[in-house]
Symmetry: C3
């Protein structure tokens, strides 16, 4: 499978990394990660250049990494500093080092050329550090489905009525059209369902006594990050789009890490503008999302299995695919740009 390489992917939540080795497979590359003495997380190709043993089967010598087969030892720049049994170290004895960066409780890894790793490009969202928002970290959810399928689902309000009828959606929204547009590498999909009963979650926790206006705004940052703004407001307020923050607003964030052509890890978290200091409120939202994401998982894995079978005619495309159509086009453009760049080098 082709992947966009010049991109900051999520290696893991910061809490997943410590002194011991952590391993990850990202874009089909096996990686070993650990925190060194200065607190930063280093990431290396998980393969000794000598006999190919995963370096994660070795041990740390201070900040250095020693292979468990013959003791070749690598410094924090990836260069070999010791080959037992000989005095000199061959210059080609090095392991690839991946740039990393920690922000918002997440460790990011740059999978492209190291010299292009600009930390200004790491995903940022000021609300994650703002006292007006309550932030709750979710989990690393593994899908046996590739990142394109997972991303399609994250710019797709239309599935909510059918896949999540008891949690995030309701039949009332089945035929509400979507609005889709693209801004650079961000696909924005939205729709409003006005003057309707609140959905499952907001019924229980929104404190609404009557009908609500509710919205979905999906911001899919190609290739692998989705920010989903959904909320509800008393319908009598008749809030316009730009003032929806006066209602109850939740952001669900999804950080997809492509493992290989049929597997994706989706690390999720969420923010809320209500009960910001109440961890129990965060847990309630997590519980809701956990149910919904399990519903997505069943669908996306079945879709992946079917995609691996031969098909005799092209898929039918319909209006609700507008977001996915934009997304696939952006990804294709990014892949093409990387191919052009690679050919030029």
């Amino acid at each position: 499978m082709d992947y966009i390489r010049n991109h900051w992917y999520v290696a893991g939540f910061a809490s997943e990394f410590g002194e011991a080795f952590t391993t990850a497979t990202i874009l089909e590359e096996d990686i070993v990660l650990y925190r060194i003495a200065d607190g930063s997380v280093v990431a290396f190709e998980d393969r000794c250049p000598h006999r190919a043993l995963p370096l994660s089967m070795g041990k740390r010598i201070g900040d250095q990494l020693q292979c468990g087969y013959h003791g070749l030892t690598f410094g924090t720049d990836g260069q070999c500093v010791r080959v037992p049994g000989q005095r000199s170290v061959p210059p080609q004895a090095w392991v690839r080092k991946y740039p990393t960066h920690e922000r918002h409780g997440i460790v990011w890894i740059w999978m492209g050329a190291a010299e292009a790793a600009d930390t200004d490009l790491v995903f940022d969202m000021p609300e994650l550090d703002h006292p007006a928002w309550g932030v709750t970290q979710g989990e690393a959810l593994e899908f046996e489905s590739n990142y394109l399928n997972v991303a399609d689902n994250l710019c797709d309000p239309a599935h909510v009525s059918f896949v999540h009828p008891t949690t995030l959606g309701s039949p009332a929204s089945e035929d509400v059209p979507i609005r889709a547009r693209r801004k650079g590498r961000v696909i924005e999909i939205s729709r409003w369902i006005r003057n309707n009963a609140p959905i499952g979650f907001f019924q229980a926790h929104g404190g609404f006594s009557g009908n609500v206006d509710r919205w979905h705004y999906y911001y899919l940052h190609a290739p692998c990050i989705a920010v989903i703004d959904f909320g509800s407001a008393d319908t009598t307020l008749a809030l316009p789009e730009e003032r929806r923050g006066e209602g109850i607003q939740i952001y669900a964030l999804h950080f997809m890490t492509p493992v290989n052509a049929t597997r994706t890890i989706d690390r999720w978290m969420h923010l809320r503008n209500t009960a910001v200091d109440d961890p129990a409120a965060g847990q309630k939202i997590s519980d809701l999302l956990r149910v919904a994401f399990a519903e997505d998982k069943a669908i996306l894995e079945a879709v992946q299995r079917k995609e691996l079978q031969p098909r005799d005619r092209p898929p039918v495309r319909v209006a609700i695919d507008a977001g996915a159509n934009h997304y696939r086009r952006v990804v294709d453009e990014m892949l093409a740009a990387e191919r052009v760049q690679a050919a030029a080098e």
Copy 2:
């Protein structure tokens, strides 16, 4: 693997189908089946033409089938009748519908061009509805072996002495030659073992006090149905072939459904001309056959595993292969005829 498509295959015993969705894989095609309000079983390609989700993961809306991902809904003719989020339905939004027919407690499915599905071609056997015969339905037995190997075994009296020495055969038959002939698409193999002790089953339930004449008649209807007539009669009667119905006669029926290149489902049932109103007698025969078919299963699955390995010389053919030779030739002719027809269209 190549399959004969213009053929009525068994989708299942009638009892396997109801209001809920049933799924089956036949000739490598995933199919969803259910009974509609008029009592008939409908069968569709188990894949939404939109995003490929198996339609069996959706739900029924009356007799219609609604996809569980985005709610596309299909009528009983396979044509899409609703696409949520838009008014019109694109004409290419349809799923393949397979003709079905129910007869003798079996649901048959036509895997070829729908316009060629002639219900006169559905397998018929008048004894199945005749009061002189007791009918007992067996089970769906899954073989990890392709249908050609399973069929070979169903026109092969010679294996009985070695694979089923304690149930269906005995060493006395080891060297009795077989008679093989072909009538159109039916291969008929037979042999008689005269004046010998009854085999396991007939010893226990035949009520014979002395030796018997016993017979096997295998009628293999290419590609996938076998009717096996076996029985015993008191040897002093010296019954000729055409009067063997005066002895104790059992028909074992096998309906093979090819799943893929290494898997076959064999649904079996049997008829008897004795104790026709005694279900316990039917169960005794089922018990006997269940033991024997487990013996076949071990053999046929091992043969399949070996066939998947490379071999350095052609198989040796011997006289007892006459039935299988006829069968393979008929299948090759049928496949060739379908290729010719496909090329002409």
Copy 3:
């Protein structure tokens, strides 16, 4: 994978064979073995030439082997002697017979052309039958790694310090250089660690009160047999190489049987020149080796998994690879010689 065929491989310890069928896969060939009346072990291709059923699913008729599907029966020369249902036996009805030879409690099998099977070429080691040595048979250890990787590890003293730091090695030996040379098809690697504390095993069972000189001599007989001489002597004796037999000396023997491109069975045993009549001493050594070999297994299986992945640059080679470099060259020469011979025939 390419294998050297004209070679005596180990089919198993003699104790693994009896009247019942034993099966083995060697060089990707399935083989059935059993002891006939004269006490010898016969070995045949485990596939009936008729319908390919493994002959090991059949039964013995005296020394003959009867297929479990249709009763074809094969004599001890592999030629078919009976085809039920017909009088004559087609001449092409035979199974390949592999030459075997039993020596030192091991059954050897020749995988090449039968006429080239010279029993003088079977591995011999006089100490195995000499009263000055205590012999203990080990186990059949299965590695999910090919024989080349396993063999590399058996001419590699350098890994001992890192893979077996608590059993067979110690950090003291990490930088001691190795001596490597090739004598025909035998690669000999050695090193001495002088005047150092005894390693785990010799600490416990050597009875040493002070420092020792310890040695490793690896004799790797390409392609598949390793004899490893390791021992310790009181350092005050200052034993020269040729008198090391005056110290405590252990031979570990490894007989590798290549199963396929990713699997090897390593049958091991060992000899000692101390406590030769004490089985408990042999068991202690076995216990030690069992721990060490489990450490090797983890490493070699991980290396195999990584080798199956694509790699973007050639492996780095270092000084301690001298033994493996020699070994791989000998194997390549042997394979090339067999190709030349095959082309000439």
